[in-house]
């Protein structure tokens, strides 16, 4: 088990190295320079700035310098934000995004699993159709539509929650709700399909033949088996939620990393683009590892390094 995790960590580092390399050269191929926007600088001043940030060196030299910094955990200094180190910017910005993403993921998944469960248990009944309709709406309508509706009813009309901005927990409620619709709908769809299949399987028949009550059958025998495929979709969804939704962050004026990413691309802020990309990639591979370990926890058949005595 420990060896497996260590090996996976090595693979993760190799993956990150490849991503760093690719995105570094891709970024260099982008037209323009970070200074285009600032027209007030003279040619001489521009040269001084370029020299200072090492942008006049040949690209391979820049690459080696960047990697050298990266190994030390130094992501460089942002061009756009008054000499702030990129790590500080990311630390600052990831907080709100991760909090919103995590809240949306947890609430959305739990509600989705419940919805799917209800739909499966009352298969082809009224509750099933209701939950299926909710799921279809949730997957097909983009979340910014919900964001607008939520803002209108709960902020503008009812005034229960603030319209936008970042502050205490109250500020997180509406964006969380907007973000949560998609994971909820996805989880509901997966759990329903899987649960219907599981409830028709032979081991459920065995459990019934043992005289187990319906509640025990659904929760003890059914749910766990129905959750296995859900984990597969939750992983990538978790990453995309935690790394921030640019649109939702714009609508609710949240100082998250999604918004930051867009701005840094517009401004050709190379170190910030690189830093954000690497952060997303690192989160992604880390979550995939966690998911793989979770599989084993839920499904003993794929337990890693198991003791097959």
């Amino acid at each position: 088990m420990v060896r497996y995790v260590l090996r996976r960590v090595v693979y993760m580092l190799i993956t990150l190295f490849i991503i760093a390399t690719l995105s570094f050269f891709l970024m260099k191929m982008l037209p323009g320079s970070p200074l285009n926007a600032e027209d007030k600088l003279s040619e001489e001043q521009k040269q001084i700035v370029l020299e200072k940030y090492g942008l006049n060196d040949p690209v391979p030299v820049q690459y080696v310098n960047y990697l050298a910094g990266l190994v030390k955990g130094d992501l460089g200094i942002s061009f756009a934000f008054s000499n702030t180190p990129v790590t500080d910017i990311l630390m600052d910005r990831i907080g709100p995004s991760a909090q919103l993403g995590a809240q949306a993921l947890v609430v959305g998944t739990i509600l989705g699993v419940l919805l799917g469960l209800i739909a499966a248990v009352f298969h082809n009944g009224f509750l099933d159709y209701t939950s299926t309709i909710i799921a279809v709406i949730g997957t097909s309508i983009p979340n910014f539509v919900f964001a607008g509706i939520l803002q209108y009813f709960f902020a503008s009309e009812l005034q229960w929650f603030p319209v936008a901005l970042w502050g205490d927990f109250k500020h997180t409620v509406l964006p969380t709700m907007a973000l949560m619709i998609f994971p909820m709908a996805t989880a509901a769809r997966f759990v329903r399909t899987e649960m219907v299949e599981v409830m028709g399987s032979n081991y459920i028949k065995t459990a019934r033949a043992k005289g187990i009550g319906e509640v025990g059958i659904v929760f003890k025998h059914g749910l766990r088996n129905a959750l296995i495929p859900l984990i597969t979709v939750i992983g990538p969804m978790a990453v995309s939620l935690m790394t921030g939704s640019m649109v939702i962050e714009q609508i609710f004026a949240i100082p998250g990393i999604g918004e930051q990413f867009v701005n840094s691309v517009i401004m050709n802020d190379y170190p910030t683009i690189m830093g954000t990309t690497l952060l997303f990639a690192a989160l992604f591979v880390a979550i995939i590892l966690i998911i793989d370990l979770l599989y084993g926890l839920i499904d003993p058949r794929i337990r890693i390094g198991g003791n097959n005595s």
């Binding site: 399987s201 032979n202 081991y203 028949k205 065995t206 459990a207 019934r208 033949a209 043992k210 005289g211 187990i212 009550g213 003890k220 025998h221 766990r224 088996n225 839920i298 499904d299 003993p300 058949r301 097959n308 005595s309």
Partner: protein
Amino acid sequence: MSKLLEVKDLRVSFHTYNGEVQAVRGVNFHVNKGETLAIVGESGSGKSVTTSAIMGLLPKPQAEIKSGQILFEGEDLVKKSNKEMQKIRGADISMVFQDPMTSLNPTMKVGNQIMEGLIKHQGLSRTEARKKAVELLDQVGIPHPEVRINQYPHQFSGGMRQRVVIAIALACNPKLLIADEPTTALDVTIQAQILELMKDIQKQTESAIIFITHDLGVVANVADRVAVMYAGKIVEMGTVDDIFYDPRHPYTWGLLGSMPTLDSEEEELYAIPGSPPDMLNPPKGDAFAPRNKFALEIDLVKEPPMFQISDTHYAATWLLHEHAPKIEPPASVKKRMEGFAKTGGKA
């Protein structure tokens, strides 16, 4: 011998998009305490539906018991609520299913799956149930039960899994064990082991067994009495000797004739022509008549009643009517019957 279970005129229908499928059409039989009744028949003859009805596990809302009684120790199971049936299932009546590869929960330890019933029906504590589960695994011939109890089904082979399924069924000392083709999905050598195990267990626990199968070799091996089912009805019923040495229904002849044996000299294996009737529109008269070369004219018009041949032997065919022409079983089947007589029923 006293009757443990008596099924009277059981009729079960399935409601489908195409209409009502009459899966079981008036089945009568009984099972005595401690005996083994084999129910034999083709796929779709209603064997499994009959046993699902006994267990109260017919799929709802598609299936419906149209009429009949299932008397278990004198109480009618048809009238019981699902809650009441939950107390009976796994405790007094339990079931072994066909496919051991899928009938165990893959995400639950084998021990827990055995303990569940004990905790539910006998009110044992977890420690007591665990002790009993180890004993059960030992009883069904699983080595190192105290280690195996903590393993998951995927760590067991097919035969071993079926032993676990049997252990689950036996957990609460059921009075009636229903085995729905318990050996069909297993290798031949493992089949023999499982059959031996079931016979041993019956000797120890004295529970009655309903053994569903389409394998007549298995029937000869385990059963005391045999019911032959065709198209949702029992067409012939008798002791193993009655059925193997003196079969009377042409369908039973067909089944016996189509059984491969090692020393069969015929080049071709006999097969019953045609296919089972469509139970959406059951045929008029005898359902087997269209496939029966011995069919009489009356078979196409009127369903034959059960004729009694001896105290234990009954068959539903007009050939047994006093005015019917005397028809002998086909020569190949006759040879089989003589063969069975020599080997004591073993195919």
